[in-house]
């Protein structure tokens, strides 16, 4: 028993700190209706670390690799912040979608040059959360705290930006959008090597969607996202350990199952109310 706890404790701590930041970000992203921007950012960060590996032989989780990944996501943030305003002919989803596909293809292309490409791809997509080290937790802890302080200081500003929709583009300086996207890029850059693209995407989108089912108030939604995220993480880790499945996909599955069941119940409640 003690061994299990000893083994699962680091991943649990890592995941719980992830849900604190991603649960909050998810509310913003849902409000802005840019669901796929996080997966695009994660993929772009992955391209950065693949570049560092192919060009200079620096492996993931070295400082050079992080620097490459972060520079790529900063460039992408700049691009999104400006392009979304200037390009009005096609919907912003199309911009995000093509950039995502391009980043994913670039990563396949770069990894195709290395041996063991499949393992690399698997690492990037589903991470290695069960084997997270205390050193990794220290790093993400520092990054998340810095991001958390920023989010707290600018909380009113960011909230107002996310809630005001796309019409306000004329009035708000693009720098605020850049800051918002750049912060997403920062937390994602340091999380991708640990948790993988898929788990990050799911932890952002699914708890926030769940919260939006049950609450309207901003703060209440954040708390719900945190609680349901944490519960799913616990259940997912237990499932993964008990049934010997990969941890990331197990947590994603639990998140989806909880969401689908509660959405079903919720819509049935609603139709009952209407009928009665």
């Amino acid at each position: 028993m003690f061994e299990i706890i000893h083994f699962l404790f680091p991943p649990l701590i890592a995941c719980l700190s992830m849900i604190l930041i991603f649960g909050y970000l998810g509310i913003h992203i849902l409000e802005r209706k840019i669901i796929f921007i996080d997966i695009a950012m994660a993929q772009i960060a992955a391209v950065g670390s693949a570049l560092a590996l192919i060009l200079f032989g620096f492996h993931e989780e070295t400082w050079i690799s992080y620097a490459f990944a972060f520079s790529c996501s900063i460039l992408a943030s700049l691009f999104f912040a400006i392009a979304v305003r200037r390009i009005t002919q096609i919907p912003q989803e199309a911009l995000i979608g093509v950039i995502y596909a391009l980043a994913a293809a670039l990563m396949l292309f770069l990894l195709g040059m290395e041996t063991g490409a499949d393992t690399h791809l698997e690492n990037i997509l589903i991470g290695r959360i069960l084997w997270v080290q205390w050193k990794d937790i220290m790093i993400i802890g520092v990054v998340y705290s810095a991001a958390g302080i920023m989010y707290y200081v600018f909380r009113h500003r960011f909230r107002q930006l996310s809630q005001s929709g796309r019409e306000r583009n004329g009035e708000v300086h693009w720098f605020w959008d850049f800051l918002f996207y750049g912060m997403i890029g920062l937390v994602i850059t340091f999380t991708v090597p640990v948790a993988g693209v898929l788990l990050i995407f799911s932890l952002i989108v699914i708890p926030a969607t769940f919260a939006a089912l049950f609450a309207d108030q901003w703060f209440r939604r954040i708390v719900i996202a945190w609680v349901v995220g944490a519960a799913s993480i616990l259940a997912g880790l237990a499932l993964s350990f008990g049934m010997d499945f990969s941890a990331g996909p197990s947590m994603v599955s639990v998140l989806v199952i909880i969401l689908v069941i509660s959405a079903g119940l919720r819509s049935r409640c609603k139709s009952n109310k209407k009928a009665g």
């Binding site: 200037r86 009005t88 990969s246």
Partner: protein
């Protein structure tokens, strides 16, 4: 020499047919703002192939296509009928979760298969080994049929995209639209992979839409851009031994970025 010629001519015929139909459907997809639904369908088709492999069905066989088709059909029903319960949740959230589920499902399925990761890479990057003349002719015939339906009923299809709610029996036309999207998805994903299938549909259409709103003009721009760029990608990948799917997506992506930058920094920027 003969082999090279044979291989390249298969590819060129395929690219020609694929760009023509995909670009047209892509224009619809962009105008309807359902950009990510196609990505979700492509990934579901990829998952179908992987599920087939886990059940012992060879990729590229008829049964493999059948499993893909079932996955895509289930996805289409979810996309068409599952709507968010309230306004706080964008429809895109449902599409995104479906996409994540398809990718996660693929990983869970290959989790217990030795060397399973290779199948995921293959589903994403495509597998050219499955291309032969039989497959190309099947694709040509099916695409020609779809093209005929879409030309014959173009007014209805354009009407449901431009002014939804004004066409009689709209649900039926909608379903027909999604079925065409599903059929081309199932045919193209095993060869081109998830990413290129998505690229074929989105990129030429997005480039065209950047420059014009007119259907006829947009089609011509899309076809020209799509076909020439994919040809360039094909030759680059063939003669420099680069991976096929990713190389084509990158060449299409470069053209897209160039077009976006052109529009971003051009002085005449008329919104609307």
């Amino acid at each position: 020499m003969w082999q090279t010629f044979n291989f390249l001519s298969i590819q060129i015929v395929l690219l020609f047919v694929v760009t023509s139909v995909h670009t047209y459907l892509g224009l619809h997809v962009i105008r309807r703002r359902i950009v990510f639904s196609d990505l979700a369908l492509d990934q579901l088709a990829g998952m179908g192939i992987i599920v087939g492999i886990a059940m012992g069905i060879n990729g590229g066989s008829i049964f493999s296509y059948l499993v893909s088709m079932i996955a895509v059909l289930i996805g289409s029903v979810v996309l068409a009928y599952v709507r968010p319960v309230n306004q706080r949740i964008p429809h895109e959230a449902i599409i995104g979760i479906l996409y994540a589920l398809a990718l996660t499902g693929s990983f869970l399925v290959v989790d217990k298969v030795p060397g399973g990761g290779a199948y995921i890479t293959q589903a994403l990057a495509g597998c050219l080994l499955w291309v032969n003349w039989t497959l190309v002719w099947v694709t040509v015939v099916v695409y020609a049929l779809l093209a005929w339906i879409h030309i014959r009923f173009r007014h209805q299809f354009i009407q449901i995209t431009e002014n939804p709610g004004t066409v009689t029996r709209e649900k039926a036309w909608d379903l027909l639209f999604f079925i065409s999207l599903g059929i081309i998805t199932v045919l193209i994903v095993p060869i081109a992979g998830v990413l290129l299938a998505y690229g074929f549909l989105m990129i030429p259409a997005a480039v065209a839409t950047l420059f014009t709103r007119e259907w006829g003009k947009a089609l011509k721009i899309g076809w020209l851009v799509g076909f020439i760029t994919s040809l360039l990608g094909l030759f680059t990948s063939y003669f420099f031994h680069l991976p096929y799917g990713p190389t084509l997506v990158i060449s299409l992506g470069i053209v897209f970025l160039a077009a976006v930058f052109l529009k971003m920094f051009s002085p005449v920027n008329v919104p609307g």
